[in-house]
Symmetry: C2
Subunit: 306 residues, 2 copies
């Protein structure tokens, strides 16, 4: 019986590249594994996979009766809908500990670093399994994406050393240039439906019993949003109603300016103002220095809801 | 600021020796740490600490505002009462994933092996920190205890290799003889108050919203219980009422015969009969081959409650 290795819903590059990398590792140590995904591939991830010659993992929605290795989260809201009917055999992650539980012992490789692929690199080292050059390439790109080319406050020395080691294996001399190329692909929003942009990197969180959705778009220049910002604002209001959410936040992150404009719709916007000690203007606020949803946006909001 | 390293309530040898070992490791890698405990030391643990010249960690009940590294569980019911007001910085464990959650990223070293100290040994290897001989001794004893000298179905080859490596560091030639000596200390029940015996290795579980307490006494010969079994049965009935529990089970485990007699008191004993596919006689049942609460007792019961 093969286990399935799968990242979160609305997969980002870390979820997809991590599932591919971990499935490869597991197969090398005689634990049959198949990488899958819970949603569409983003343009950034498509760029990475094409650059290093990988196909996307197969889309698979249901995991009842199967063994599952979870990548890049430990949250019920981000897991397969029928995860309760599956056996979680492991979790590799770099976020806060969420509400997934199991009825049997499992392995958890969770570290407070910038990317799940950094933890997966540690697993390769632990099992002394060599990483093929093209696999090293996609793992490296996932880390460059999650750490915003080392600019994010989530980035640790472990992530930087890991990228350096993977770049050497992959034979990439200027990994920062490749990272910028990747973020330029990510910044292309023209002609993309608004809902697709809102959902591109969107995660739901359970905050003290309230469903809070937080999306993020990372670009090299916020000006790309000038013509569509009103449409984005209207769409998160719709999205909030459709999902019975308490709040929806959309982070428009400028990786060069190093900050995020946050679009907000909420049943109680004062919680958001309290979380970041800022006043909203027209349901928007600029958060200087804020690049990381995980480290700078979620924890204060969770505390405000507590 | 030092972190506190603490095992579960009603600490067993794994919780105590693991807290001491992990606090030592953390201090070696410049992360100041203090081992503490949430309850009294068992006679077995006292034997181990004395054999290798350690004092018991300090008793500490409240952790509000502190950083805490959790050892040997991930369950709210087994954690400090005010853990919600602390920051969990890490978890080392070998059980199912419980209901502890965090609002910030952490490290989790969780493996499906027989003992937390086996995982802590992996951490020493990862950080390339040498283990002093006396520390190796208490870590080895914790593994021999949790794996019932390798007889438990929870025991893995990783545990066996780990004990062998630690025995060499500790300079112990016949570790199985030391293990039997330890289990003889554990088997001495004469003169111990009944409630103390019931609580010696007792854990509460949240099973689908129901509080279920499961105690275990491991001995080399069940005959030690002949004179006190009726008192044990009466006491778990009292304990159930005092804690508003749905059920209390007490496993009387014979490590030589390799099986457990289970004393049961429950609001719905049919759930216990369903879990183990056995009929209770006078609120008791013999489960042949059952040595492990974690692997053989909890999962079927959790499924029966689901």
């Amino acid at each position: 019986m093969s286990m399935y290795v799968v990242g979160h819903k609305i997969p980002d590059s870390d979820s997809i590249c991590g599932a591919i990398a971990l499935a490869y590792l597991k197969n090398q140590i005689d634990e049959p594994a198949i990488a899958t995904r819970l949603g569409d591939i983003s343009p950034e991830t498509a760029f990475i996979l094409e650059r290093f010659g990988f196909d996307a993992p197969a889309y698979k929605e249901s995991y009842a009766g199967e063994e599952v290795y979870i990548v890049d989260h430990s949250e019920l809201t981000q897991a397969p809908d029928d995860i309760a009917d599956a056996t979680i055999v492991g979790i590799v992650d770099h976020h806060k500990l969420g509400d997934l539980t199991t009825s049997t012992p499992l392995e958890c490789w969770i570290r407070p670093v910038g990317c799940s692929n950094t933890v997966i690199k540690m697993m390769f080292d632990f099992y002394q399994v060599a990483i093929p050059a093209n696999l090293a390439g996609i793992m490296m790109c996932a880390i460059l994406s999650d750490t915003v080319i080392f600019k994010s406050p989530t980035c640790t020395t472990a992530d930087i050393r890991c990228v350096e080691a993977l770049a050497e294996i992959a034979g990439i001399e200027d990994f920062k240039a490749l990272g910028m190329e990747m973020f330029k692909v990510k910044s292309a929003v023209d002609g993309t439906p608004v809902r697709e942009l809102v959902m591109r990197d969107f995660k739901d969180f359970n905050m003290n019993g309230n469903l809070v959705g937080i999306g993020q778009l990372e670009v090299t220049d916020l000006a790309v949003f000038d013509k569509i910002k009103a449409d984005l604002e209207a769409d998160i209001v719709k999205l909030k109603a459709e999902g019975n959410r308490h709040s929806v936040l959309l982070l428009l992150t400028d990786i060069m300016q190093e900050g995020s404009e946050v679009l907000v719709t909420s049943d109680d916007a004062s919680l958001i103002e309290k979380a970041y000690a800022k006043t909203l203007t027209d349901n928007k606020v600029w958060l200087d220095g804020v690049l990381s949803r995980k480290k700078q946006v979620v924890p204060p909001l969770q505390d405000a809801f507590a």
